[in-house]
Amino acid sequence: MTLKIAVCVKYVPDATGDRGFADDLTTDREAVDGLLSELDEYAVEQALQISEEADDAEVTVVTVGPDDARDALRKALSMGADKAVHVNDESIHGSDVFATSAILAKALEKTGFDLVVCGMASTDGAMGVLPALLAERLNLPQVTLLSEVSVEDGTVKGRRDGDAATELLQAPLPAVVSVTDQSGEARYPSFKGIMAAKKKPVEELDLDDLDVDADEVGLGGSWTLVDSATPRPPRTQGTIVTDEGDGGKQLAAFLAAQKFI
C-alpha cells in the first residue's frame, strides 16, 4: 500500500529582506521577494527521507497562498516531492492561522494522506501553532516539534527536545508531524530535479472546490484585529571603545554604572 505523505509549506517574504506591512496591516508580500520558508525545507526533507525508507510512498506538497506561492511548490518538487496542491483564492488574503488551518485541513482531506509533515513555524508569522491546529481540526494525534522522526509499521515515532525535557513520542498513523531545524539539513535540488519538477502535476484549487465559505476566511473572518504596526525605533549606537589593555575594566565600569554589577 502506498504511504501517502502530505507536506504543508508556506511561501514567505525572504527573512533577510526588509520586511514590512501593507496598508491593510497584512504582511507586505510585494516589497520583498518571496521563497519557500526555510523552516519548511526541513519538512520537505524529512518527508522525502520517510518516503525513501518506505516500500512505496508518494509525497504531495500543499500550500495556501497567492499566485507566486507556486515558486515554493516548485522548489519542493525540485527537491523530490511527487506532486503539488495549490489553494489559491482572492478571498484568502489576510486570513489568520485559524482560517488558514481550516483551508489546509480541507485540502488535506481532499488530497488524502497517511501522514502530514509541517515545519516548526513559518519565518514570517512565526506562531508555530498551525500543526497543532491541523491535528485539532483533523482529529488526529499531533507529534510535533521533532528533531528526529521515523515511520515504521504504521506508527510514527519521534524525539521532541523541549525546554525542560526530551520526550520520545509515538502515535499510530494517520498523524500530524512537525519537524525542527535540528531534524537534518535539507537537500539542494539537483539539476535533474529542477528539470523534472517542471513536468510534475500542480493541482489548483479554490475555496469552492473545498466547500469553504469565503466569509469565514480572509481579513473579515479573522478572530484578531491588528490595531497598529510601527517600525521599531532603531537602537541608537552607544559608546564604542577600542581595547588598549583595559577594555574589560571599562566595560565593568559601564555595567557598574548601569547597576548590573
Binding site: 506562531m127 574589560g248 566595560l251
Partner: protein, 318 residues
C-alpha cells in the same frame, strides 16, 4: 471582576518564573486564577505560590494523562475550566508547548489567539497585546475580536510582583478526549546550574569569534560571575561548539533580558531576531565593522579572550 485564567507552568514540583510573570500581568486586565495541571503531590505548594502572586482561586487537576500524552490533556483541562468558569481571558507562557496548548484551546473556544506578546494591557475592546515581529523590526498592537482572548506571553515580559490573594484550591475532574501522541519516555534536561536562557535577566552569548568549543570557557566564566545564562549564535551551534538548546536567534530562542552580552558575534539578522529586544546590549568583537555594534549601548573593539577574563576578574573584586 473578570476572571483571567493563567496556566501555571511547573517543573520539578516548583513554579517556573514565567508563570509568576503571567500572574502579575493578569492583574492588569482582571483577577487572576491559576490552573495547575498534572503536578501530583506538589500541587499544594504550587497553589500556595500562585496565591502569593495574586491567584484568588487555583484550579487543580491531576491524572497520569498529563504526563503520558502530549498537549491534548492540558487542552482538555484548560478548555473545560475556561468554559465552566466563564473566563474573560486565558494566559499561557510562550513556549513551544505553551503555544500549541493555547492554539487548540482558542480553536475549541472559538476565540482569537495572540502569540508571543511582550506586553499586555487593558483596553476598551479587551486586552491589547504588543508583539515584536519581523526579527524585532516592527511592534504590532492587536486585540482579539472574537470570543475569550487567548494570549501567550513571552518570558521576561514583566517582573514578578507578589500580591497575596486567597489561593483557594478547587479540584477539577477533567473529561479527557484522547487522540494524543503517547509520551513513551521523558528525560529531564540535565541542569547546568545556570538560569534558563529565556527566563534569565542576564544572558552572555558567544559566536564565531569564540573559535572552538573550549573557547566557551571564558563565556561561561563571565556568565557565572553575573549569574547569567549562556547563549550561542547559530554559527557557534552549527560548528558544534555549544548545544542547540542554547541557540539565540530566529530559529533558536528569542531572549529579552535586562542585559545581553554578545561576545564574538557579528550580529547577522538571524541572530538579531533573537536578542534585539534586550533592554541593554553590550558587545565585544575584534571587527570594528561588525553590525552588532549598531545595536549596542556599549561596545568594546578587542579580543574577547582578553576583555572577558578581565571583566570577570573585575566583577570578582566588586
Amino acid at each position: 471582576m473578570a476572571e483571567i485564567l493563567v496556566l501555571v507552568d511547573h517543573a520539578d514540583g516548583a513554579v517556573r518564573k514565567p508563570a509568576l510573570e503571567l500572574l502579575t500581568i493578569a492583574r492588569r486586565i482582571g483577577e487572576p486564577s491559576a490552573v495547575v495541571l498534572g503536578a501530583g503531590e506538589a500541587a499544594a505548594s504550587i497553589a500556595a505560590t500562585a496565591g502569593e502572586y495574586g491567584a484568588a482561586t487555583v484550579y487543580v487537576a491531576d491524572g497520569t494523562e498529563f504526563a503520558e500524552q502530549l498537549v491534548v490533556p492540558k487542552v482538555d483541562a484548560l478548555t473545560q475550566i475556561a468554559e465552566e468558569k466563564g473566563a474573560a481571558a486565558v494566559l499561557v507562557t510562550s513556549s513551544g508547548e505553551g503555544k500549541e496548548i493555547a492554539a487548540r484551546v482558542a480553536l475549541r473556544l472559538g476565540s482569537g489567539l495572540i502569540t508571543d506578546a511582550v506586553e499586555l494591557e487593558a483596553g476598551e475592546n479587551g486586552p491589547v497585546a504588543t508583539q515584536s515581529v519581523f526579527a524585532a523590526s516592527y511592534q504590532v498592537r492587536s486585540t482579539v475580536s472574537k470570543g475569550v482572548p487567548v494570549v501567550t506571553v513571552k518570558p521576561n515580559s514583566a517582573a514578578p510582583e507578589a500580591a497575596p490573594a486567597a489561593g483557594a484550591v478547587e479540584n477539577v475532574s477533567v473529561a479527557f478526549t484522547g487522540n494524543a501522541a503517547k509520551v513513551v519516555s521523558r528525560t529531564p534536561r540535565v541542569s547546568t546550574g545556570r538560569p534558563e536562557l529565556t527566563e534569565s535577566a542576564i544572558v552572555v552569548s558567544g559566536g564565531r569569534g569564540v573559535g572552538a568549543a573550549e573557547g566557551f570557557g571564558v563565556v561561561e566564566k563571565l556568565a557565572d560571575s553575573l549569574g547569567a545564562a549562556v547563549g550561542a549564535s547559530r554559527a557557534a551551534v552549527d560548528a558544534g561548539w555549544y548545544p542547540h538548546a542554547n541557540q539565540v536567534g530566529q530559529t533558536g530562542k528569542q531572549v529579552s533580558p535586562q542585559l545581553y552580552v554578545a561576545a564574538g558575534i557579528s550580529g547577522a539578522i538571524q541572530h538579531r531576531a533573537g536578542m534585539q529586544t534586550s533592554k541593554t546590549i553590550v558587545a565585544v568583537n575584534k571587527d570594528p565593522e561588525a553590525p552588532i555594534f549598531d545595536l549596542v549601548d556599549y561596545g568594546v573593539v578587542g579580543d574577547l579572550f582578553e576583555v572577558l577574563p578581565q571583566l570577570t576578574d573585575e566583577i570578582g573584586t566588586r
